[in-house]
Amino acid sequence: MKILVVDDSSVVRKEIRHVLGHAHDVVEARDGIEGLQGLAEHADIGLVLLDINMPRMNGIEMLERLRAQNHGVPVLLLTTEGHPDLILRARKAGAKAWLVKPVPHDELRRLVDEFGRREMGAAR
């Protein structure tokens, strides 16, 4: 599966590539604007891991723009944030899960497999 990782931290992107890169094709973006561009350029992206606090365009804005475009790619938010209002906003915008950093690597692999499988099953 091709996974888009949107995070302004290069070290976090590198860590996720290290954790998921053996089993998946990882594409990186540094903010919401690059994330939207990445989705436009890679039609086969099956899952998005999305940070919230980023310059230029944050993760919630990117998620809401995706939904305004009726883009159905599953999105897992991976963030240091945990405010209930933000979680509700993400839920309304159709995010599949909210993960508060740091997430254990085994758990991240399991969730990516779970949501990736679920979406691939739904697409059949």
């Binding site: 931290s9 945990g82 997430v103």
Partner: protein, 179 residues
Amino acid sequence: MSASANIDDAQWREALQTALLAATRDVFPTAGLEQARFGIRTENERIAVLSFHGDNAEGSIGLAVNEEFLVQSHPVPEILSNTNTDELEDWLGELLNRIVGRLKAHLSHQGVDVGMGTPVVLRGASLMVRPQADTRVCAYAFKGADQAYVWSQLRLSRTQVTRGANEPRYAAQGVVIRL
């Protein structure tokens, strides 16, 4: 918010100290921390600072740690190059982001909601952090680590600050919420 009570200065100082300590322990669960005198001088060459703000409070939080501490705090230290300055600074900013994320959650339990900016990493041969006027300050040193500190300054607005009895609960670190 339901029933609420005013928070006085002493309670504020205690709330900030408690929140900063808890937030730092969330991010560095094995680190020993001891209260430090504010007015930090460090030879670490780089520190990260991040501002936060809310309806009734604003402030900043800072983190100064050396390169060895930085590399060892990474979940996969072998992928972090200790000679790549950009990577080390990026990781320093990310660690501070995580502390602030937890600080927000702990402050929320005291009735204060704040938004945060993005971390700024400062470089210098010798850096001195001084308290600003009218701020509540607190600082902790990491035991066993050379010149490693976390600190926070907080200024209250003139608006009456209240502590809610039933503040919304933040999601805790490591939690997965299925939406």
